[in-house]
């Protein structure tokens, strides 16, 4: 029985891990280049992952050099507090305009229009948000079209299959190991290049916008294989996602202007007075970071809690706009909430991570030869379904170029067997006092929620590390499954998730402890200022045995912040 576990060995030129926009664009591109591809998705192509949540699509104006420069400057300032690669933003914008929109519209993507055929936007028709076909549904529609593309083109595909490790020999990625969730088979894939596109979001806190299966697996496998990680501390939170029901924590109330109007969501405190709407800050180009800082003030005053006690409202917006253009409206109706008259209780939610696997934004190559990291799993993330399609396309070109030069390498047997023993070792039933993997994941998320929320400090982070160590040392050994059946045993998947989550959470906390300032969505109460003199830098993490080494590399670029230091809570970025 033990010896029969290496169930299947497959060979291909390029493996693509992930079924969102980046992964699909990569897989389609490899196929179009005439090479062999194998796409492996933990959930289902176009149904799991972050891409289905894309709400607003941004029109660009890249043919006008002045407008383009202005756009990049705004994006650099508000999207990433000057850490993001500005040249990358420009290239991704051009791809969006020249390739993504035409290609997707040709496939049937319907960008909402009016009766005269003009695109519906909020204000600027040449460069603003558009929707396909409703606000809150764009990513779902894009991914539905891309899923059909993958299926119709018969891209070799393993769905409900979890990649568990990258196989590395002589500092090159030569394959992956995977678990077929449906059959419980262990799979080994030999490949000349691996494209990892597992997304930006990770369900690491009790409330998260990431989907169920996104448990930091991409970060964890890349880090363990030796890839450098960058800026993992740059974690984004949403301030305006519905508080209840729990299942709907990913229901986002967009703070951007609604379609056909410039009016936006307002936030209200426990006392039902408005504490935030973008119109209060006319010079500011992006509401997300500011919502959080204003919410912090209200929480301090006792006029809101992080997970409730504050509200969102559209009562000042015409009912026809909500009815005609918002996918979310039906949710309020289903709860018996009259969105045109009533407010909705909200909570803060762990959103995407700007950081990730350290990438070169010209090639999406990681520091590990043969591994490419397009999309949100990379460290260059801005968070856009259209940008990551660019990433996937470029990564595929690079991976193909590599694959054409190489022959398949022999797999290091000992490493593969070690991984198979790890997976096999997790397939055990829990004892009386033990916990199911899902219960341990819940505990990890509680620790992150309590001690690694929006407001951080050295002591709370140190305490979170202690708590996680305790989970690793005391709770994890007793972890076991409901049964040892190999048939769609999701407990088994979650056991692997729990291990990955511990690694990623610890690394995130340690990266956060490195940064002695606040910036963007990263807020340390013990360093409540933006320190551009010392911290306009990336945090780079490299695994050294069981430990991690941190380095800092400069991030100074063309568009730089105007001052050396700024008060975090009042600065305009």
């Amino acid at each position: 029985m033990q010896s029969s576990q290496a169930n299947r060995t497959l060979e291909t030129d390029v493996v693509v891990i992930g079924g969102g926009s980046a992964g699909v664009y990569a897989a389609l591109k490899v196929q179009a280049e005439g090479l062999r591809v194998l796409q492996i998705v933990k959930g289902f192509v176009g149904r799991s992952g972050a891409s289905i949540f894309a709400g607003n699509l941004q029109l660009q104006k890249t043919k006008d050099p002045v407008a383009e420069e202005k756009f990049v400057a705004v994006r650099a300032r508000y999207g990433s507090s000057y850490l993001n690669d500005q040249d990358y933003i420009k290239r991704a914008c051009r791809f969006t305009e020249d390739v993504f929109f035409p290609e997707m519209e040709a496939r049937g993507l319907y960008i909402r229009r009016d009766e005269r055929g003009e695109l519906i936007t909020s204000s600027d028709r040449a460069a603003g948000n558009v929707w396909a076909p409703n606000q809150g549904f764009s990513g779902t529609m894009i991914m539905e079209l891309l899923r059909k593309e993958v299926l119709a083109r018969k891209v070799p595909l393993l769905q409900e299959t979890m990649v568990t490790s990258l196989v590395v020999t002589e500092e090159q990625v030569v394959g992956v190991t995977a678990l077929d969730i449906v059959r419980g088979e262990l799979i080994v894939v030999r490949a000349k290049a691996v494209i990892i596109a597992t997304g930006p979001g990770n369900y690491l806190a009790t409330r998260s916008t990431a989907t169920r299966e996104q448990c930091g697996n991409g970060f964890a496998m890349a880090y363990r294989a030796g890839a450098q990680m960058q800026d993992l501390e740059m974690q984004w939170f949403h301030a305006s996602d519905i508080a209840a029901p729990k299942a709907w924590m990913r229901l986002h109330l967009y703070p951007n202007p609604m379609p056909v109007t410039d009016k936006t969501l307002r936030l209200y405190g426990t006392d039902r007075t408005t504490f935030f709407e973008p119109a209060m800050y006319p010079q500011v180009k992006q509401p997300y970071y500011l919502q959080l800082r204003r919410l912090y003030n209200e929480v301090k005053k006792g006029n809101a809690r992080w997970h409730g006690g504050f509200y969102g409202g559209y009562t000042h917006i015409e009912p026809e706009i909500m009815e005609n253009y918002s996918y979310q409206t039906q949710f309020f109706k289903h709860l018996g909430i009259d969105i045109n008259k009533e407010l909705v209780e909200l909570g803060i939610t762990w959103h995407l991570t700007f950081g990730g696997i350290r990438t070169d934004t010209h090639t999406f190559a990681s520091s590990l030869t043969g591994l490419y990291a397009p999309g949100g799993v990379g460290s260059h993330g801005v968070g856009s379904i259209t940008y990551v399609a660019y990433d996937g396309t470029v990564a595929a070109e690079q991976a193909c170029e590599r694959a054409r030069r190489l022959t398949l390498q022999p797999l290091p047997e000992e490493q593969v067997q070690r991984e198979q023993r790890r997976l096999q070792g997790r397939l055990k039933v829990k004892g009386e006092a033990g916990l199911l993997p899902a219960q341990i994941k819940k505990r990890i998320r509680e620790i992150m929620t309590e001690k690694m929320g929006y407001v951080k400090s050295e002591s709370r982070m140190a305490s979170a590390l202690d708590d996680l160590s305790e989970v690793r040392e005391r709770t994890l050994p007793g972890m076991g499954l409901g049964s040892t059946s190999r048939n769609w045993n999701y407990d088994w998947v979650e056991a692997l998730d729990a291990e990955d989550m511990l690694d990623v959470c610890e690394l995130t906390i340690r990266s956060s402890m490195q940064r002695k300032e606040s910036r963007g969505y990263f807020f340390r109460e013990d360093y409540p200022y933006i320190d551009n003199k010392n911290w306009l830098k990336h945090t780079v993490a490299t695994r050294v045995g069981d430990d991690v080494r941190f380095e800092h590399t400069p991030a100074v670029q063309k568009f730089a912040p105007p001052t050396e230091t700024d008060d975090f809570l009042t600065a305009d970025y």
């Binding site: 949540f53 519209e105 496939r107 009016d114 508080a243 729990k246």
Partner: protein
């Protein structure tokens, strides 16, 4: 346990690879604010320690993967409100993989066989192409379909998955797949004659019972907005074919136009 503060859920458990027959586990769950069926299933695992197999990804009606039967009615677990006493079972009409997880591939395959992708004869021009909302409205009304197949699971005209074949009574693709076909067939830029595909989908099996619309969690007008318009396309083409045959034509002896004995 107080009825006011707790609910009771009886949940279907079955692993065909190890169990001889299905069984049911009952859990008592404290009521949460605006609780959904999905919240109950998560509670059963995280707090009651049930190693329960159920599939879902987004929790908020985008992935379409959390379909279950609750008290006999097919629903999305993320959308349906939890009630004091629930019997939670897998979606009907599909093979059970384990517990509440079903094999949806028959429905997915039926959709792909209908080639639900836009086909243009006229080359695409440039973004944004000329098109008014009015022109795309028929297709637009179907665009929020998330392919959850709750409708196909509920449809009384659907053949059991193992019985599906090309013969007239057994070839029905089901309402979910027809919505996907209609979405492209009704798109103003689609230029493929889809009448043959519509016929191959066994559309005549639909009995207009509207059960699909009753259970649709996104309110798609499945019968009036998809199945009836598709039927109209098929009929129109058939009539025109009839007229062509009736008209004098030199091509009537070409192969394919002669009926077999």
């Amino acid at each position: 346990m107080s009825i006011d503060t707790h609910l009771s859920a009886k949940i279907f458990r079955y692993d065909p690879t190890t169990d001889t027959a299905p069984r049911y586990d009952t859990v008592e769950v404290p009521l949460q604010s605006r609780m959904r069926v999905l919240d109950v299933l998560e509670y059963a695992v995280e707090n009651c320690g049930l190693g329960l197999a159920f599939r879902h990804f987004c929790g908020v009606k985008r992935c379409g993967m959390c379909g279950v039967n609750v008290n006999g009615k097919p629903v999305l677990a993320c959308w349906e409100e939890a009630t004091p006493s629930m019997l939670i079972e897998p979606l009907a009409n599909l093979p059970v993989i384990r517990d509440l997880t079903v094999d949806r591939s028959a429905f997915e395959r039926a959709t792909i066989e209908l080639e639900p992708r836009l086909v243009r004869q006229t080359p695409y021009s440039s973004f944004p192409e000329a098109m008014t909302h009015g022109e795309v409205e028929e297709s637009f009304r179907l665009m929020n379909c998330i392919e959850c197949y709750v409708c196909s699971s509920a449809c009384p005209a659907m053949p059991a998955p193992q019985q599906r074949d090309d013969t007239p009574r057994h070839n029905f693709a089901g309402p979910g797949s027809l919505v996907q076909l209609a979405k492209v067939a009704l798109h103003p830029k689609d230029e493929l004659d889809r009448s043959g595909l519509i016929e191959s989908a066994g559309i005549e099996n639909c009995t207009w019972c509207y059960r699909c619309e009753e259970v649709c969690p996104v309110g798609i007008p499945i019968v009036s907005g998809a199945i009836l318009p598709l039927r109209a396309i098929a009929l129109k083409t058939r009539e025109s074919v009839g007229r062509d045959v009736a008209a004098p034509s030199g091509s009537c002896e070409s192969p394919g136009n002669t009926s077999p004995p």
